[in-house]
């Protein structure tokens, strides 16, 4: 018995130890490499420790960029972001397994009513919008590169009531395009996702007469093909001709992006317009002072506005039990709203930088973390 137990524990301990050493070596190494360059220029930062977060895969690429940038400025800090998904992120944060969460949805009222393991009791958690990504309606049709769509038509296509590319609704919007007499292959997400949530929110708000399903993370209709993840839908659309999908703009490389009818004009996808829609939208009411959950107004019709947009949040405690952790989160969240961080993620991942006004609010909210 004792013998067995010994081997069993040795077997488990060995890989764990190896892993731990590898992690220390890797993170230490990464921090050091970046540190040597920055150490001469900036005064050494006093921050020290490790931040671990779980959350949205949409902001995963941006978090990698931000973590690298933050670790350059603070050589003794390690930021680990695990892009398991928004739901997993919120769950981990609530249970205390993650220091902060990344989430495509703000905390629900139910979640806000509950306890957060890392926060001082009663202080609650706050949502900070840090990542804005325009969602593209991307298509793959030979010989067509300037497709124009309005909300009703998009809803018709993705609901399955418009099934051919030469449908009257499409030819009316695109009198000059040579639309083929072919079936439309609709591609949507097979996994639950924030992208689907925001896409269906847009359609539910703008095409009420056609889109009769409520907004949801799960694609509501049984139409066309389903594929896993941003890369999955992009890949399926690229490999099938006469196909159309909705996808984060960053994942739409190699596909054409439709222009969207906003108000009376057709708008080409643009980061500024996406950020402007978020900035012009009201905050969700009935929340804590520093909670910046945005109630996106999908019906904004300003020039160049792009209301088909996804906002991803960092969710953190208003007041942490551990003050060292609070300092780290405070500094990191504040950093995310800086111009440098937003520009870096825009370059690397195609996100839309926060508008100056919203960035200031996020910084103020981050500074309030205790």
């Amino acid at each position: 018995m004792t013998f067995t137990r010994f081997t069993a524990s040795a077997r488990i301990t060995a890989p764990v130890a190896a892993l731990a050493i590898a992690t220390i070596a890797l993170s230490g190494c990464a921090a050091n490499e970046r540190g040597t360059g920055a150490a001469d220029a900036a005064p050494a930062s006093a921050l020290k420790g490790t931040l671990s977060a779980v959350g949205s895969s949409a902001q995963g690429a941006a978090e990698t960029v931000w973590a690298a940038g933050f670790q350059t400025d603070n050589p003794d800090v390690t930021v680990n972001y695990d892009p398991q998904g928004s739901g997993a992120g919120r769950k981990s944060f609530i249970s205390g397994a993650a220091d902060f969460a990344g989430s495509d949805a703000a905390l629900s009222d139910d979640e806000l009513g509950g306890d957060f393991a890392l926060c001082t009791p009663g202080s609650g958690a706050i949502d900070l919008p840090v990542y804005i990504s325009p969602i593209a309606v991307a298509y793959n049709v030979d010989g067509v590169s300037d497709l124009r769509l309005d909300a009703d038509t998009i809803a018709g296509i993705f609901k399955g009531s418009i099934t051919r590319w030469n449908d009257k609704a499409l030819t009316a919007l695109n009198p000059d395009a040579k639309l083929p007499d072919a079936a439309i292959t609709v591609v949507h997400r097979s996994d639950d996702s924030g992208t689907t949530q925001n896409f269906t929110e847009y359609l539910a708000a703008n095409a009420k007469s056609v889109w009769d399903a409520p907004a949801s993370q799960t694609f509501p209709y049984q139409v066309g093909d389903a594929a896993k993840g941003t890369s999955g839908v992009a890949d399926a659309t690229k490999s099938a001709s006469n196909s159309i999908t909705y996808v984060d703009e960053s994942g739409s490389a190699g596909l054409s992006i439709a222009q969207l009818k906003v108000g009376d004009a057709f708008v080409t996808i643009n980061a500024k317009g996406a950020a402007a829609v978020v900035a012009a939208s009201p905050l969700k009411s009935g929340r804590a002072d520093h909670d910046l959950a945005v109630d996106i107004d999908r019906t904004i019709t300003d020039a160049d506005a792009w209301p088909l947009v996804l906002v991803s949040y960092v969710i953190a405690c208003q007041q942490y039990k551990d003050s060292a952790k609070a300092d780290l989160v405070k500094a990191y969240a504040g950093y995310l709203a800086t111009d440098a961080a937003q520009q870096a993620s825009a370059e690397q991942t195609g996100s839309a930088p926060l508008s100056a006004e919203l960035a200031t609010k996020v910084q103020a909210a981050a500074a309030s973390i205790k």
Binding site: M1, F3, D191, Q222, D225, A240, S241
Partner: protein
């Protein structure tokens, strides 16, 4: 008497340690299995009693939600076995009875290598190579043989149908099925084979008379092991299949029944509340389905033992 006790005392330590560790190992697997079952049942309870609105989608209760998934799991595994069984028996026969020795060895290595490829790679292969490759054939089938219910349209534009997923699954279960069939075929009594040949049987007749009857139980075990793998395969299906919550038997459309394992993999990251319990409960159902199928397999193999090589 004294010598006996002394001797027993001498062996006692090693004997005891070995017996103890063997018993611990045996008990451990039961404990682990029991722990998994307890976890699944405990976490499933909230979903089993959940009403409409709490469950994902529009399902009225848990059974409505899980039924298409159970169907999809069994349907895709069945299709995979339909493709893989003749293929693996053929490969195994070729290796054991037809191929020259050297070629047989090389082929054996290649098949074993196939077993070492991770399922994600098979998934990628399914998406990038297989689906676009078979899509034109699917279009042709729907256009020309669409009157057969299995091939009814509308055809999938991407080729990611249940048939494609099953072909990927078939390739994945081939190695284990082939390996077992090969071993069983090689054990066919030499004397029977030679006797058949001496009576003037051709090689095919010899295989039919001497090898296949002998190997029947082995082939059934191979199929059941393949089935086990096909039922539980997650990643490749999640990547290749274009899923929906439906029950249908159309092979070539883009609305396909999903499998339990793939559905858990797809929905778990974003699931909250009762949806998580529903996913775990679907895992419990898969657990039970697999258990049931394994018991049936045991029963079949056991019943046929009289005719198998086990006592020949």
């Amino acid at each position: 008497m004294t010598t006996d006790t002394a001797r027993r005392g001498g062996i006692r330590l090693g004997d005891r340690v070995f017996a103890g560790s063997a018993a611990t190992a045996g008990a451990l697997i039961l404990i682990v299995l029991a722990a998994v079952a307890v976890f699944l049942i405990a976490q499933s309870l909230p979903a089993l009693g959940a009403g409409p609105g709490e469950l994902p989608g529009t399902a009225q209760n848990f059974w409505v939600y899980v039924w298409p998934l159970v169907f999809g799991t069994i349907w895709s595994a069945f299709l995979a076995l339909l493709v893989a069984t003749p293929l693996s028996i053929g490969i195994a026969l070729f290796i054991s009875h037809y191929a020259p020795r050297r070629l047989a060895q090389a082929l054996g290595y290649v098949i074993d290598l196939l077993a070492a490829v991770p399922s994600v790679v098979f998934g990628l292969w399914g998406i990038v190579v297989l689906a676009p490759f078979v899509q034109p054939m699917y279009s042709w089938l729907v256009a020309n043989l669409g009157w057969i219910p299995l091939f009814a349209g509308p055809v999938s534009g991407t080729g990611r149908t249940v048939l494609t997923a099953s072909v990927v699954l078939a390739v994945m279960v081939l190695p284990i099925m082939t390996a077992i069939c090969r071993e069983v075929f090689l054990q066919a009594p030499r004397l029977h084979e030679e006797a058949a040949l001496a009576l003037g049987a051709t090689r095919w007749e010899m295989i039919r008379m001497a090898v296949l009857p002998f190997a029947r139980a082995g082939i059934v075990s191979a199929i059941m092991l393949g089935l086990g793998r096909a039922l539980g395969e997650t990643m490749a299906v999640a990547m290749v299949l274009s899923p929906a919550l439906v029950v249908n038997m159309f092979l070539l459309t883009s609305i396909n029944p999903n499998t339990i394992a793939a559905n858990i993999a797809l929905q778990f990251p974003e699931a909250t509340g009762v949806s998580v319990n529903a996913l775990i409960a679907s895992g419990l159902v898969l657990f039970l389905v697999t258990l049931g199928i394994n018991m049936i397999a045991r029963y079949i193999v056991g019943r046929r033992r009289a005719f198998s090589g086990a006592n020949a």
